[in-house]
């Protein structure tokens, strides 16, 4: 086991990783920007190094500073959390060059899978069902029109290098295709520095279902069941639950098995998530793989009893997976709500400010992953996720009741600060949601927006 791990992240996930390390008897190094010098993980960790100013590109994305911090503290491994450098193959390379273990898949696997177009090729060849669409990047708007005519409208144009819900455009009408094509390429070039895009059939009433896998570097792997993440707004997930409700068990089993086969076929190592869209006919289509721990990983932890972050660390250490598929026995239902410092009344604009009151829920089977506390200042520099409330119950109805109870206990107040709690409670109260009739259009309907949001 490692003696010391550096955590290259901030917020709730940095604290989550630090807790896993403490339980494993591993010492921790927190790295932080000047804005986060009083943060929860800095207090919790054994050591802390200030690596840069508030803007992420000079601190949490500053590979050189992070590697320096690891070197001077004698850390042997780096846990990148999610976001920031977590799926950056170059950073993984830099870690390796400096004798540090990057806790994640090998750089070459990340490189192949981080590119959506390439990942589709590789995993399609490994037997994963792909949605109808272009097999490779579409070089011109004329070519795009041909592909769109073949697969039928609506279509979605996606940046090959995209991620986190950015760089995607839905086109419902042929007349809009050319401008949308050029716009998406422009955005992709600006945001990702790579303007290759490809086309897929856009599934309007689709559900977003994903499979968690764990693979070691010795050819062993398990899947840990499914999560449904259909409740999302503009490609940002708001509520996740596991297992995916009201879908045929045989289909979910097949999806999980196919995902694991794909993971092993591409030499995946670590914790990973395979994302699928499930259409009205219960057909599933692979969309992408996330090569990192995900925000919603606690859902799977609650139903399987497996600590995914600790497993990541064991795998990075080279320890063969101790779990075998029969050991994974999902039980009950877990639900996660993301509490963001955003105002649902004003188009979910972030609301930075100081928290005068921050009382988190407690009680049975209720887990809250947060870096917040009374007096915490939600800054304007980072994403607005404030807390994840996760509950478990033997069945879905009880779990939703429990979540409703937990959110009613959550008291967050501060001048100018709003949270997504009222909106999350509206979703929990929605009749369709309660029935498990989920689709990526649900939030749009509640917000009376045109329902064309969907994530990847």
């Amino acid at each position: 086991m490692f003696e010391k791990i550096l955590i290259a992240n901030r917020g709730e996930i940095a604290l989550r990783v630090a807790r896993a390390c403490r339980e494993l008897g591993v010492r921790t190094v927190a790295v932080h920007s000047t804005a986060d010098r009083d943060s929860a993980v800095v207090r919790f960790a054994d050591e802390a190094v200030q690596i840069g100013p508030a803007p992420s590109r000079a601190s949490y994305l500053n590979a050189a500073a992070i590697v320096e911090a690891a070197r001077r503290t004698g850390a042997q491994a780096v846990h990148p959390g999610y976001g920031f450098l977590s799926e950056d193959a170059d950073f993984a390379d830099i870690c390796a060059e400096n004798g540090l273990v990057f806790i994640g898949p090998p750089p070459q696997v990340m490189l192949a899978l981080g590119d959506k177009a390439k990942a589709r090729d590789v995993l399609g060849a490994a037997g994963l069902p792909l949605p109808p669409g272009s097999r490779e990047p579409v070089p011109s708007s004329a070519h795009a029109a041909t592909v769109a005519a073949e697969i039928g409208y609506p279509v979605i144009i996606k940046a090959a290098a995209g991620g986190g819900g950015r760089g995607m455009t839905v086109v419902t009408d042929e007349a809009d295709l050319a401008p949308a094509y050029h716009r998406t390429r422009q955005t992709a070039r600006a945001v990702f520095g790579d303007d290759r895009v490809y086309l897929e059939r856009f599934l309007t009433q689709a559900r977003h279902v994903e499979v968690q896998v764990l693979c070691d570097g010795h050819g062993n792997g398990v899947h840990l069941g499914t999560r449904d993440c259909s409740v999302q707004r503009r490609h940002q997930k708001l509520i996740e639950e596991g297992p995916a409700p009201t879908l045929p068990a045989a289909m979910l089993d097949e999806m999980a098995a196919v995902a694991l086969r794909g993971a092993l076929a591409v030499g995946y190592v670590g914790a990973g998530t395979f994302e699928f869209l499930v259409d009205e006919n219960d057909q599933f289509h692979f969309i992408e793989i996330n090569c990192r721990i995900q925000v919603e990983h606690p859902v799977t932890e609650m139903i399987t009893g497996v600590d995914l972050v600790q497993e990541q660390i064991h795998i990075a250490c080279g320890t063969p997976l101790r779990l075998r598929q029969p050991d994974i026995r999902p039980r009950g239902v877990a639900v996660e709500c993301r509490v963001n410092a955003e105002d649902p009344q004003r188009g979910f604009t972030p609301t930075p400010g100081r928290l005068d009151r921050f009382e988190i829920p407690g009680g049975p089977f209720t887990r809250v992953d947060t870096h917040g506390n009374t007096g915490y200042v939600v800054g304007p520099h980072y994403d607005p996720l404030l807390a994840k409330v996760v509950v478990w119950a033997p069945d879905r109805e009880l779990a939703l009741n429990r979540m409703e109870r937990a959110l009613s206990e959550f008291d967050v107040r501060g001048p100018g600060v709003h949270t997504t709690i009222p909106f999350l409670r509206r979703v929990l109260d929605d009749a369709m949601f309660r029935k498990g009739r989920l689709s990526t259009g649900l939030v749009g309907r509640l917000l009376d927006e045109p329902s064309q949001t969907r994530t990847a």
Binding site: V49, Q50, A63, V67, E68, E97
Partner: protein, 178 residues
Amino acid sequence: MTSAAANGTPAGSDPGGQLRRLAEQTRALVGQLTGPLRRVQVRHGDTVIEIEWHDRTTPVAAPPSSPADTAAAGPTPAAGLTAPPADHATPADQATPAAGHRIGSPIVGTFYRAAEPGGTPFVDVGDSIEPGQVIGIVEAMKLMNEITTDRPGVVVEILAGDGEPVEFDQPLITVAPG
């Protein structure tokens, strides 16, 4: 991402003499350039050359030394950085700080007070300094970054020791208005 310092030869092996050839070519390149150079980065894989000049409005402390002079030196300045404004508390704050302006480290790394081990420190307590003057070096990722002051004054305190690991914004010296 291996950045080879343009005009320095880090200790260690140099398989195939690649680094030596790179250094020679860089020296030739530097000879063709005019103006006060601030930073030169050369990379061999995927071929990158990055050159930064000192802002013409910023006074330069010393004329750029000739490559031959610096080639043999220990820690060789490869980059110059101006310290960020250290106008807020930092973890390294001491109980009774001297009055004045603190120059913080612009990067995480190792602080060196002199250009080579045992050499004369760039600055010492009591020295008068001018904007743009080098007050020390912070080594990060095998690159030597010159730390310069952005205002004139007298050095009243040295806060970081030679060879000490420093954080971003950690105060290195205190400068009192001269």
